[in-house]
Symmetry: C2
Subunit: 134 residues, 2 copies
């Protein structure tokens, strides 16, 4: 089997070397083998796995979730994978809603702020300084 070193793996997948070692430390990605010198060697499978991790992160999964996904994937449990992805979707939708609310508040505040003059007339400060408890 053709194997590559950690530097080449990192370069080809587009992940920092330290991050590859980090993934190993947390049990997410083990090298296929080691040279007598201790140098890590990776094969096709590890390369795929690392790409899987990278894509999972791009989709907003945490490393723990990716670990889970990889386990499910190995078990070829399509139903669980679908469920996991759905949970992720719900979470992301909730976060988007939250951010939308924040964005709207900020937009209003900024639009209402003249950008000069008395601090008392700045709605941004006022919003943060309100006496009301909410």
């Amino acid at each position: 089997m053709k194997t590559i070193g950690i530097g080449q793996l990192a370069k080809e997948v587009g992940v920092p070397i330290d991050t590859v070692r980090h993934y190993e430390r947390i049990g997410l990605l083990q090298p296929a083998t080691r040279l007598a010198s201790g140098y890590r060697r990776y094969g096709e499978a590890e390369q795929k796995r690392l790409r899987f991790i990278r894509r999972g992160k791009a989709l907003g999964f945490t490393l723990d979730e990716i670990d889970e996904l990889l386990a499910l994937s190995a078990g070829r449990n399509v139903q669980s994978i679908r469920k996991s992805a759905s949970a992720r979707l719900t979470d992301i939708e909730r976060r988007i809603e939250e951010l939308n609310r924040v964005r709207d508040s900020l937009r209003q505040l900024i639009a209402a702020c003249p950008g000069h003059g008395r601090a008392e007339a700045c709605p941004i400060l006022n919003a943060l300084s309100e006496d009301a408890k909410p």
Copy 2:
């Protein structure tokens, strides 16, 4: 001046006691004074400041940004405050865009997944396992 203890402050503003102490440790909120026993006492100003912090967080500002905002607020520098809020808005808009992309990807993947059958037919797994480098 009427002052209150840390417990009452935490309760009234709706923040855990430990968090109030944490804010003190990082230099964000100092008690107005201390009793001879060392007990912290907070006045109106501190209560306002803590509410300011709480609202800032709700708007998605980091504690560092809130610190900055408080300094600008003390300096009553309306222009800087507006700029800071605008930067925050831009950041939030960018994050929303990112999340929207992720959400769309997940939706497509989930919609295309039958939820059963061969793993090879699961588009979620396929998306994560693609041989292509992107």
